[in-house]
């Protein structure tokens, strides 16, 4: 599975995007479970969020979801952290 996180907004208004491919990873099942939870707990549309808060778009094979700081669920936060730390950056 391919998981892409796009982060926008924040104090700097900068965009950051990264993609993690789970195929062949020992934690593939765990990541897939995180992604399912993150999707189930997210919103169908982006929200206005809070001033200077980050906005996230999470795309997986199962669909796209939106969430924003500071109200991420544990699964969303864990997944976003994992994709940014271990994923590869693409330029859209």
């Amino acid at each position: 599975m391919r998981i892409t996180v796009t982060r926008t907004g924040g104090f700097g208004g900068l965009t950051r995007r990264a993609t993690l491919r789970t195929d062949g990873r020992p934690d593939a099942a765990e990541l897939a479970a995180l992604a399912r939870s993150a999707l189930a707990e997210g919103r169908a549309e982006p929200s206005t969020g809070v001033p200077d808060g980050f906005h996230y778009e999470i795309e997986t094979d199962d669909g796209t979801t939106y969430c924003a700081d500071p109200r991420l669920t544990e699964a969303q936060s864990a997944l976003i952290g994992k994709v940014f730390r271990e994923g590869g950056t693409d330029r859209g």
Partner: protein, 381 residues
């Protein structure tokens, strides 16, 4: 997966490259001995702000002494008796700093309350001092008593999240991350960032500008304007001496840039191979239409930011005096609707200038000129 890590990108294409040196300016309060020296200088640009700052400090010391005396005298009667006697309580900040310990749990653990001694954690002390400086500007210059003008407590959380390169206002408190170690340093470092976040609270309690599109860019710009004024006020700078940069100590040494934004020259704050080029426009001609970042609230804020810079430099002197007063009057006038666009806001500033300094006066003329320079036609207020 690739190990090549280029984490940031900019939605806007990089333009011609003009590398800028990293220019770190620490916004600490100027030490009294230096102020004293400057106040005796022959150059008005130097001695005026220094004298003014010294005078303000002396005034505050007097005020503190009076408070102490008043409090001591009042101990027998108790605070209730003091209030019923019609003596207004001294307007002082009520700050509380919390530590999230790199978690995303708010508010976190309470680590420093109002009046307590500094702690070992520099982020905590910077947040505490920055909130104090912001409270001081609003009270001393605009007679505003905290965020809601009714003495609202000032709460901030530091050490939010893991590698968190951001700060935000969550509707009740300011939240600061430690930086991501790659691009951003600790967000409590620049005092203008602290003032920026607190001003989001002031806007929420006044014009309540919707955080999307042009009203959102105005909301952002007001935070940059008052954030910058807090820094200038602390340094005793005149408009032409100020750097008009936002977040000038935030970038790590790896970034080719001086700050996140420049009110003096929007679009020139950074030009970096990882971050891209500062996308801020200075005029309506370069307004950026985007769905990202709530419709580019941190991008198009460059236009009202630059209008304020133009006004402040046109009027000269301290930006928080006339220019800041006009912007503050506009924010608090009650005439702005939450979905105000640039033209409506500009119209309200023209009315505010006329209201405070007279119809057709130099201030109103300067306001009209600065909006004209950024390509905004003020609507009839």
């Amino acid at each position: 997966m690739t190990l090549c890590h280029v984490p940031y990108m900019n939605a806007h294409s990089a333009h011609t490259c003009c590398p800028r040196s990293v220019n770190v300016v620490f916004c600490t309060i100027v030490p009294p001995h230096l102020l004293d020296h400057l106040s005796r200088s022959g150059d008005p640009a130097l001695y005026e702000p220094a004298r003014r700052t010294l005078e303000r400090d002396a005034l505050q010391r007097t005020r503190r002494r009076i408070t102490t005396v008043r409090m001591a005298a009042g101990t027998g009667a108790g605070p209730a008796a003091e209030e019923t006697a019609g003596e207004p309580a001294e307007k002082k900040p009520r700050r509380t700093i919390f530590d999230a310990g790199q978690s995303e749990q708010l508010p976190g653990e309470k680590v420093r309350s109002e009046g307590e001694e500094p702690v070992d954690d520099a982020s905590v002390n910077r947040a505490y001092a920055g909130l104090g400086a912001t409270f001081d500007l609003y009270l001393s210059v605009f007679s505003r008593y905290s965020i809601d003008d009714a003495g609202m407590p000032l709460d901030a959380t530091v050490h939010y999240g893991r590698d968190y390169g951001n700060a935000f206002w969550d509707g009740e408190r300011m939240v600061f991350g430690d930086g991501d170690g790659e691009v951003f340093r600790d967000f409590t470092l620049p005092v203008d960032v602290i003032g920026h976040e607190l001003t989001h609270g002031v806007t929420q309690h006044t014009a309540n500008l919707a955080y999307f599109g042009q009203s959102g860019a105005l909301n952002e710009s007001l935070s940059d304007v008052f954030g910058s004024l807090i820094k200038q006020y602390g340094l005793g700078q005149t408009a032409d001496a100020a750097d008009w940069l936002i977040g000038d100590t935030l970038f790590t040494d790896r970034v080719e840039g001086t700050a996140l934004r420049s009110m003096k020259a929007p679009g020139t704050a950074y030009d970096d191979d990882v971050l891209g080029k500062d996308p801020q426009p200075a005029t309506m001609e370069d307004y950026v239409h985007t769905g990202s970042d709530n419709g580019g609230v941190h991008i198009n804020s460059g236009i009202p930011n630059h209008a304020f810079y133009r006004l402040a430099t046109e009027l000269g002197g301290h930006a928080w005096e006339r220019a800041g007063q006009i912007w503050y009057d506009t924010l608090t006038s009650g005439s702005l609707s939450p979905d105000a666009d640039f033209a409506a806001f500009a119209g309200a500033t023209v009315a505010a200038a006329a209201g405070r300094y007279g119809e057709g006066g130099a201030e109103q003329e300067a306001v009209l000129k600065s909006w004209s320079l950024v390509g905004v036609t003020p609507a009839d207020a």
